[in-house]
Amino acid sequence: MTRKSRRMYIIVVAFVLLASATALVLTAFEDNLVYFYSPTDLKTKQVTVGRSLRLGGLVEEGTFVKLDDGLSIRFSITDGAESVPVSYKGILPDLFREGQGVITEGSLNEKGDFIAHEVLAKHDENYMPAEVIDALKASGEWRGDEEGQTTK
C-alpha cells in the first residue's frame, strides 16, 4: 500500500464510523427525547397517548392518596392554573411531600391520567427543579425570589 492509500484507508474508516454514529444518534434522538410539560402544557398541547414525557409542578395539597395495597399512590400535580391526576406504584423519594415541587416521568393514558413510572428524587429539601419554577412563573403562581434557587 502506498502512503496515500493508507491515509485514505484511515480517512474512510473514520468517516464510516462518524456516519454510523451520526445515524445512531439521529434515530435515537427521534424516540428518546423526553419533553418537559407543565400541567397547563399538557392540557393545551396535543400529546400522544403513551409517549414518554416529564410532567412537573407542585404536588397539590390534599390530593395525596395511598391505595389499599399500600404501594399504589395517586396525587395531582398542579401549576396553579391546571392540575393533572398522577398515579404511581412504588416507593416515593425521601423528600416527596404535598406542596413540594416534583418531576415525574411517564405517559398519558386514554383517560387523560398520567401514569408515572418514575418520580424523580431530589437531593435537597429546599431545592425546586428549574423546570417547575419556569412552569410556575408561566402560570403566575411563582412566589419565590427572582433567582428561585436555594440549593444551599
Binding site: R7, L33, Y35, G70, G90, L92, L95, H123, D124, E147
Partner: protein, 661 residues
C-alpha cells in the same frame, strides 16, 4: 485571624502563579536559565501557599468556626470529624479550593520529578500549568471566596447535605479531581510542545506517566461515585447516565484514548498531531465538566449553588483555555513533522481504531449530555435524554471496541498477520462460545443481547488472558521458565493485561446486573416474608435508633434460602435533625454471585412498612473490575521505563525491548 491568613495565602498563591506563568516563558524564549529555573521555585511557592489556604479552611471546619459563611452554611458542630473534614470540599467554594490545590500539586510534581526534562520544555510546561492556576485562583478569590466572614455568626451551622455524609463520598471528590486536574499536565505538555514545535518519542514518554496517573484516579473516582450511588441512593442502580456522571465519563473516554495514542507516538513516532489534539480535548472536557457542574446549569447533588456571575466567569475561562489552545493547535500543528504512515493491520493500526471508536463514543455522550442545554438556550423547550438514548448510541459504538481489544493486544508493531492472530485466539473464541451457551442455558434463553454481551465480555477476558499466557509461554515451556518470563514482563505489559481483564470483568457485572436484576416492592407487617428470586426475606420489625446527628428507623430482615439462614439486613431510614432531611440507607449483603439489597420505606399506618428488595446478580464484579483497572494502571506506572525522572539506561532498555519482542 486564621481565615485572614488563608485569604492572604490565596492572594500570594495567585501572585506566584502570575509570575510563574510569565517569567519562565520569557526565559525559554531567550534561553535564560535563571528565568527558566524560576518556574520550578514559583511552583513550589504556589503549592505551599495553596496548602496553607486549604489548611486554614480545614481548621475552620474542624473547630466549627461559624464566623465563616462557608462553614456556617455547610457544617454543624455535631457532625462526625470525618464529615467535618470532607465538608471542606462538600461545597462550591471549598471544592474549587481543592481543585486549585490539586492543580498546584501537579505543577510542583512536574517541577520536582521532571529533572531530566529539557529545560525549555519544563519551563514552558510549568508556565502553562500556572496559567490555568491563575484562571482558577482568580475565580476562587473574586467569585467564590471560601473565607468570607459573617458579621453576625449563627449559633450553629446548617449542616452538610446528609447524602454527602458518607465515607464513599468523602473520598470521591478528591479522587475525581486528581483525575480531572491531572489531565492538565498532559494539556500543558501539549501546549508546550506546540510552542516548541517538537513532538517526539521522548515527549510521549514524559507525558505518559502523568496521563496514566490522572487516568488511574479518574477511574477510581468514577467507580467510587457509582458505588456510592448504588448503596446510598437506595435505587439499586449504579449508573444513571445523569449529566454529572457523563461529564466525568467524557474525560475518561478521551483520556483512555490519549493513553493509547501516546504509546504510538512513543514507539512509532506517529499519530503526533492527533495525540496533541487528544491531550487538549481531554483537559477541555475536564474543564467543561467543571463548568457544567459548578455553574449550576445542571441541577443535582453536585450543584451546590447557582450563581450566574460564576457561570459567566467559568464560561470566559473556558473560552480562553479551549479557544486559545485550539487556535494555537490550528496555527502550529501543521508545522509538526508528521511521522510515518503505517499498515492498518498492525499494533498501531489497532490503537488508531481504538482511538477512533473511543472518540466517537465520547462524541455520542457529549451530544446526549449537552443537547438539552443547547435546546434550552435556543428556546426549544426543556427536554431530557435518558438511558435509552445511550443504549442506542454509546453501546453500539463500544461493542466493536470490546470485541477488538484482545485482537489488538496480539498485533505486533508495523505489520501483522491477522489470520495468525485469530488462530492463536481460537481457544478463547471457543471458550467464549461455551460461556455464551452456558449463559443461555442458565438464563432460560433470557434477553438475547445480554447473552451475546456476556459471550463478548468472556471473549475479551479470555483473549486477554491468552495473550498473557502466550507471552510467558504458559504450558508450552516448563513452569519455572514461564514464571521467570512472567517476572520479567515489563510493568506496562502487566498493566495492560490487568486493565483489559478488569474491564472485561466489569462489563460482565454490568451486563448481568442490568439484564437479570430482580426487584420487588411490598408492604410487610413484622413476621411476614417476601420471596424474591428464590430468596426469602423475613421482616422482623423496626426499632428506633439515634446517630450523632440523626435519628433513624432501622428495619431487620432475616434473609434465607430454602430455610438456610444467609444474613441479617438492617436498612435504615434516617432523619438528619439539623436539615430535617430524610435519607435512605440501604442494607446490602454482598456475595461473589450477587447482592441481596433491602430498603425500608414508609409505614402504611396499619402496622405494615413499605419495603423494597433487589437481587443484583454479579454487581460487585463491576467494582472489582474497576479495582483491577486501577491496579493495572498502578503496575504500569511502576514500570521502570516510564518512571518519572528515572534516567533511561539505554543498554538495559534495549535488553528489555529484545526480551519483549
Amino acid at each position: 485571624m486564621i481565615a485572614e491568613l488563608g485569604q492572604f495565602a490565596l492572594i500570594m498563591a495567585l501572585l506566584a502563579a502570575i509570575s510563574q506563568s510569565i517569567l519562565p516563558l520569557i526565559g525559554a524564549e531567550r534561553l535564560d536559565s535563571r528565568l527558566m529555573a524560576f518556574g520550578s521555585h514559583a511552583s513550589l511557592v504556589q503549592l505551599l501557599f495553596v496548602i496553607l489556604a486549604f489548611g486554614c479552611l480545614t481548621q475552620a471546619y474542624i473547630v466549627s468556626d461559624f464566623t465563616l459563611l462557608n462553614v456556617a452554611e455547610n457544617s454543624h458542630s455535631t457532625k462526625p470529624l470525618l464529615y467535618k473534614i470532607s465538608g471542606v470540599w462538600g461545597n462550591h467554594e471549598g471544592s474549587m479550593l481543592l481543585w486549585v490545590l490539586i492543580l498546584a500539586l501537579f505543577g510542583a510534581a512536574v517541577a520536582a520529578f521532571g529533572r531530566n526534562l529539557p529545560v525549555t520544555l519544563k519551563a514552558r510546561v510549568l508556565a502553562i500549568q500556572a496559567m490555568i492556576g491563575v484562571g482558577f485562583l482568580t475565580f476562587l478569590i473574586f467569585t467564590s471566596n471560601p473565607f468570607t466572614r459573617l458579621l453576625v455568626p449563627p449559633e450553629n451551622g446548617q449542616d452538610l447535605n446528609p447524602l454527602l455524609q458518607d465515607p464513599g463520598l468523602a473520598f470521591h471528590p478528591p479522587m475525581l479531581y486528581v483525575g480531572y486536574v491531572g489531565f492538565s499536565v498532559a494539556f500543558s505538555f501539549a501546549i508546550a510542545a506546540l510552542i516548541e514545535g517538537k513532538v517526539d518519542a521522548a515527549w510521549a514518554r514524559w507525558v505518559r506517566p502523568w496521563t496514566l496517573t490522572a487516568w488511574i484516579f479518574l477511574t477510581g473516582g468514577i467507580a467510587l461515585g457509582s458505588w456510592w450511588a448504588y448503596y446510598e441512593l437506595g435505587w439499586g442502580g449504579w449508573w444513571f447516565w445523569d449529566p454529572v456522571e457523563n461529564v466525568s465519563f467524557m474525560p475518561w473516554l478521551m483520556g483512555t484514548a490519549l493513553l493509547h495514542s501516546a504509546v504510538v507516538v512513543e514507539k512509532r513516532n506517529s499519530l503526533k498531531v492527533w495525540t496533541i489534539l487528544l491531550a487538549i480535548l481531554t483537559f477541555s472536557l475536564s474543564l467543561i465538566g467543571t463548568f457544567i457542574v459548578r455553574s449550576g446549569l445542571l441541577t443535582s447533588v453536585h450543584a451546590f449553588a447557582v450563581n450566574p456571575e460564576r457561570g459567566i466567569f467559568i464560561l470566559i475561562l473556558l473560552a480562553i483555555a479551549i479557544g486559545g489552545s485550539l487556535t494555537l493547535f490550528a496555527l502550529k500543528a501543521p508545522a509538526l513533522k508528521s511521522g510515518g504512515m503505517f499498515s492498518p493491520i498492525s499494533r498501531e493500526g489497532g490503537l488508531l481504531l481504538n482511538n477512533l471508536l473511543l472518540s466517537t463514543a465520547c462524541a455520542t455522550v457529549f451530544l446526549g449530555t449537552l443537547y438539552p442545554l443547547f435546546m434550552e438556550a435556543l428556546g426549544g423547550g426543556r427536554v431530557s435524554i435518558g438511558p435509552p438514548f445511550y443504549n442506542k448510541t454509546f453501546i453500539p459504538v463500544m461493542v466493536p471496541l470490546f470485541f477488538l481489544v484482545c485482537i489488538g493486544a496480539y498485533l505486533p508493531w508495523k505489520r501483522a498477520d491477522l489470520v495468525g492472530v485469530l488462530k492463536r485466539l481460537k481457544y478463547a473464541g471457543l471458550a467464549a462460545l461455551l460461556a455464551l451457551l452456558i449463559a443461555w442455558y442458565i438464563s432460560d434463553g433470557g434477553p438475547l443481547l445480554a447473552i451475546l454481551g456476556l459471550g463478548m465480555a468472556t471473549w475479551m477476558l479470555l483473549g486477554t488472558l491468552s495473550e498473557w499466557a502466550d507471552r510467558i509461554k504458559l504450558f508450552r515451556a516448563p513452569l519455572a521458565k514461564s514464571w521467570q518470563r512472567a517476572k520479567n514482563l515489563p510493568g506496562s505489559s502487566w498493566g495492560m493485561t490487568l486493565a483489559h481483564g478488569g474491564l472485561a470483568i466489569a462489563i460482565i457485572g454490568m451486563i448481568s446486573t442490568t439484564a437479570w436484576k430482580v426487584e420487588d416492592v411490598a408492604v410487610l407487617k413484622p413476621g411476614e416474608t417476601l420471596s424474591v428470586a428464590g430468596t426469602d426475606y423475613r421482616f422482623d420489625g423496626v426499632k428506633e435508633i439515634t446517630g450523632p446527628n440523626y435519628s433513624a428507623v432501622e428495619g431487620t430482615f432475616n434473609v434465607s434460602q430454602d430455610g438456610v439462614y444467609m444474613a441479617t439486613l438492617k436498612p435504615e431510614k434516617r432523619l438528619y435533625t439539623v436539615k430535617r432531611m430524610p435519607t435512605t440507607e440501604a442494607a446490602i449483603y454482598s456475595t461473589f454471585v450477587g447482592d441481596y439489597y433491602a430498603v425500608i420505606g414508609d409505614p402504611d399506618g396499619k402496622g405494615g412498612w413499605t419495603v423494597r428488595i433487589y437481587r443484583e446478580p454479579l454487581v460487585t464484579w463491576i467494582w472489582f473490575g474497576c479495582t483491577l483497572m486501577v491496579f493495572g494502571g498502578l503496575v504500569s506506572l511502576a514500570d521502570r521505563r516510564l518512571r518519572v525522572g528515572a534516567p533511561a539506561d539505554k543498554r538495559k532498555k534495549k535488553k528489555v525491548r529484545e526480551a519483549e519482542a
